[in-house]
């Protein structure tokens, strides 16, 4: 009996949450037909799953390094747009890969340059002027090279060539790509200019950071290690750049010949990879110098967010557009809607009959499933790996973790990159179900923040529970907006209006925070 009571105390939050869920479901199922209830539940899971992808990364970053990354929503959106580009316009993707890979290589080499400049063997003029000169030279070379590098793309200003049209055509299976752009000057000269520019930029960045760390203390005769990770990343990026440059035509044709399921997987991989790299870059270049000044960090992330939105507006244009679903989730015709799992795979149906209701396989089966997979993967990473152990310890006391001899800054960069990668994954996956728009990031960030406030800001189970709750509340309020709630004892059917959808999540947050100021799973600190 005692043990039971003790167990109850320990898991009080969990039990209360479960009880609230149970009451909620019982009430909900009384008010609507079972099939409506099932479909609303699945939709809630989908919204919760996308919210979770953003919230979990945000909460890992906030927990470990106390950075409120307000750019997280924008990075989610960038993930969606990059995924769309790979999916709908593989030719543009191949075109961009070469210069992007080269520039990425240069930047990835920056730690190596810092290492070289920092070591005693290489005596270079220690003037502050030289790195700036390098940066200017890099900018000039990149400007010259990029202006001459042909990239086949869309034109947001012309409707027939805008992303909207291409997205629609791709969805209809009638996509015809424009003729590839050609080099107007010598391709190798342009390539050399880009390579030189990116190397010079990396060297300049390395010189800046070497100067910064040398300025801190006197004779630092410590154990400096060669940054192997940077070398590997640079090598991979160089391989990508050269591969896409020399096998340009073959690759474009091959990608365009792929079925859309394979292309979708590629889109996910590319978006996550770019998100990861972008995260590492943002953390090491913009966030890291500001760890001593948290307010500046928040302003910095806000600035990154604004710049990101404008960049996307500049490249992809203003209007909203869709991302077609991959073929495996888009089948109609005979055998559809599927009635069994075997049917589903055989006919690749877009819908499936489930408990008498027609459920969309992508939105309502695939997305929640992916959320679940990511949930388990992160949980395993946190609980079973050394990195996870370091993260959990660092959330509490990163100073002590560093005093044990662990390079916490590298872990910071890794976790930031991981969080942004997760957000980008959320973006690609949300593309086909939510559509792409400039506001999608901010909308989702607000959802994620509310979810985290409900669940507890730095708690991983809290992020999952909060996201799920936000999804449930929103979707059920939307559903009740259609069918109405019968208020007992009164002859009145209450229909929540659309503005009540976002309001309801805020209301839930307020109630939870009044009862439990640290959120459901938060810890008093």
């Amino acid at each position: 009996m005692d043990r039971l009571l003790q167990n109850f105390r320990r898991n009080r939050t969990l039990l209360i949450t479960l009880a609230v869920f149970a009451v909620f479901f019982l009430l909900a199922i009384r008010g609507m037909p079972a099939e409506e209830w099932v479909i609303t539940l699945l939709r809630s899971l989908a919204v919760g799953s996308i919210t979770f992808l953003v919230a979990s990364g945000f909460s890992l970053i906030f927990g470990l390094m106390d950075v409120l990354n307000l750019a997280h929503g924008t990075l989610f959106m960038i993930g969606a747009y990059i995924g769309w580009t790979v999916f709908v316009r593989p030719d543009t993707f191949v075109d961009v890969a070469t210069p992007a890979g080269l520039i990425g290589m240069g930047i990835a080499l920056a730690p190596l340059w810092a290492y070289a400049f920092g070591s005693a063997t290489l005596h270079l003029p220690r003037s502050r002027f030289v790195p700036w000169l390098g940066l200017a030279a890099a900018a000039a070379a990149l400007w010259w090279g990029l202006a001459r590098y042909p990239i086949t793309s869309w034109d947001p200003a012309v409707y027939a060539e805008s992303p909207i049209t291409y997205a629609f055509a791709a969805g209809q299976g009638t996509l015809s790509l424009p003729e590839p752009e050609l080099f107007t000057s010598s391709p190798y000269l342009v390539l050399a200019a880009l390579a030189f520019g990116s190397l010079a930029a990396g060297a300049a960045l390395g010189a800046f950071s070497a100067g910064r760390s040398a300025g801190g203390g006197a004779g630092a005769s410590g154990t400096r290690r060669l940054p192997h990770g940077a070398l590997i990343a640079a090598g991979l990026l160089l391989a990508l750049a050269l591969g896409t440059f020399f096998f340009h035509g073959t690759l474009t044709a091959a990608l365009f010949g792929l079925n859309s399921t394979a292309l979708f997987i590629l889109a996910i991989l590319v978006a996550v990879g770019v998100g990861f790299g972008l995260g590492a870059l943002v953390e090491s270049a913009l966030i890291r110098p500001l760890y001593a000044r948290p307010i500046y960090q928040i302003l910095m992330t806000l600035g990154v967010s604004a710049i990101g939105i404008e960049l996307v507006r500049g490249i992809w244009g203003r209007p909203e557009f869709t991302m077609p679903k991959p073929a495996i989730f888009d089948g109609t015709g005979e055998g559809c809607p599927a009635v069994s799992l075997a049917d589903l795979f055989a006919h690749q149906c877009s819908t499936i009959e489930l408990l008498g209701s027609r459920v969309r396989t992508y939105n309502e089966i695939f997305v929640p499933l992916l959320g679940l997979i990511v949930l388990v993967a992160i949980w395993l990473l946190l609980r079973r790996s050394r990195l996870g152990m370091v993260i959990r310890a660092g959330v509490q006391d990163s100073e002590m973790v560093e005093a044990l001899g662990i390079n916490v800054r590298r872990v910071f960069t890794l976790v930031f990159a991981l969080g942004v990668g997760l957000a980008a994954l959320g973006g690609v996956v949300a593309g086909p179900s939510m559509g792409l728009s400039l506001g999608m990031g901010e909308r989702l960030l607000i959802n994620a923040l509310i979810a985290l406030a409900i669940g507890g800001l730095t708690s991983f189970p809290g992020a999952a529970a909060g996201s799920l709750l936000v999804g449930l509340i929103q979707q059920f309020i939307i559903k009740y907006g259609q069918i109405g709630i019968t208020i007992p004892f009164v002859d009145y059917v209450f229909k929540p209006t659309p503005p009540l959808v976002p309001a309801s999540t805020v209301l839930l947050m307020v109630i939870v925070l009044l009862l439990m100021p640290n959120g459901l799973f938060g810890r008093r600190d």
């Binding site: 801190g216 410590g222 152990m389 310890a393 006391d397 560093e402 005093a403 044990l404 001899g405």
Partner: protein, 259 residues
Amino acid sequence: MKNFGIAPPGWFHHPGGAIPKFFEPASEMIELQDIHTHIGQYHILEGVSFHAPRGQITALLGRNGAGKTTTLKSIMGITPPGRGKVVYDGHEIQGLRSFDIASMGIGFVPEHRAIFRDLSVEENLKIAERKKGDFARKEAMIFELFPDLKRLIHLPGTNLSGGQQQMLAIARALVPDNRLLLIDEPSEGLAPVIIEQLMNAIRTLSAETTVLLVEQNFLVASRLAEFYVIIEEGQSVRAGEMADLAGDEATIGRYLGAG
């Protein structure tokens, strides 16, 4: 003398192997030269200089707020000194990042223990590994020093008592091959029986490693340490052998309160 896996002093920098003790250079394990440290706008350390000999326990004494903890943190690079030198085993380490300093063989047992609450006792120990298998090699030694920990191994850090946390914090610093331990206020808030147990443990491990100890409880410090340094208002004011200090009522009264 049991070999606890912490290599005895004098073995380092001698690839040829063990050098008999009398050949060993009488160098210091760690030496601070006129350290100045600011925290925010406050000038906390205004000239701390001392040295701690190899293989001995040196106690930093002084009143609350004198700068003892900051001295340890300055060595660790957590609050890096703005001026002065920290020479550890012949290397200048001031200005290095704290993980680099730790990797050179310095273990830190901070005030209030800083046990990771979300990690089990085992994970708290394993996270301190610098090479794979550190914990497996030291396991027997650690459990011999602190038998309690063996039975608590799967408990989360948050469920430990103060004394158990202190033992775990010291054990954590023993997992990698550290040559210098910085231990901050090990006896703070603990029952006399537990303090006695901890003192025995520290004495045992000091046979193989140098210890720099911050201790408010003069009785504990005087029974443990061979050498002392007194820090007063951010400056090192006195240093010497503990045996001399123990009889010097005037100094004790002046710098350490009633004693």
